[in-house]
Symmetry: C2
Subunit: 149 residues, 2 copies
Amino acid sequence: MKLKSFKGMNCSLAQTLNIVGERWSLLIIRDISFGTTHFDEIQKSLGVARNMLSTRLKQLTEAGILRKEADDAGRSQYKLTDKGWDLMPVLLSMTHWGDKHVPDEAGDRVVFVDQKTGRPIQPMGIHDADGSRINYYDIKPEFGPALRR
Amino acid sequence: MKLKSFKGMNCSLAQTLNIVGERWSLLIIRDISFGTTHFDEIQKSLGVARNMLSTRLKQLTEAGILRKEADDAGRSQYKLTDKGWDLMPVLLSMTHWGDKHVPDEAGDRVVFVDQKTGRPIQPMGIHDADGSRINYYDIKPEFGPALRR
DNA sequence: GATCTGCGTTTAATCAAGCAACTGTGGAGA
DNA sequence: TCTCCACAGTTGCTTGATTAAACGCAGATC
């Protein structure tokens, strides 16, 4: 009774979840994006089981999200590829949702700021073709070519 | 050997994953956002096991993401709450990532358009305080009050 | 040469996903 | 009123996934 794969679903969300939808994947990716790139560092930071971490790193590397390389000391480390960095909107959306809906009494936990100005970035939101911010009830889904058949 | 909870992690991403990070949750939420609101409809649409669906719907309702109510015919249906609709940026980020990195040869699967203009919305991206689009390498994380202690 | 650190793999136990069959309820039709 | 069917779950079982801890192994340090 294998875990059901989302591969056949012909849905971009399902395809994404098939690759990064596993419990630990996004936390691993976040750690690496923060500069925690060595196996033991990630393991201690997250408290994930070592074999899980090993498996996930392998899968994410095969999926082209991570790249394994040696650092100056010859120790192996993991870095995000461009494909991996493209997941930042996903990470940021989730972080902002957590900030808003599962807050800490002491305030925000991590704030992402614009490096040039030092000011916090906007919470992730929906923008129309002109770049104006719009609401979720201002959009509607339409079937694209791949679903019209 | 219970599944490790992310609750104690003091990280907004982990808090979000603790609520919607399970395999089926986001797919269920997407279906409901598309108007597939009855138990059997969702079950057939996703092919998820009925007991899984039952458990997830219960958890998501308890988490305040869904609301259970009766439709005109008295059948029970599930709707998104505002808290649930706030997950749209997460769904859209993942959908756009899938469109880009796991494409279908036939083209896009679902396109989200601005209801007023009919034009597709922008792919989810990072915006600075002034609303200008910036890149992932233009931002950096800073520890907020909850982590400075 | 003994111990430590880094990076995993193996092992054994337990938890959760998956499937299918069953229950319970309400309405439609005979 | 009796049967049939759709809907919304629930129950029970099997198998896969997750966990923690122990083990391997190479290179560096004491």
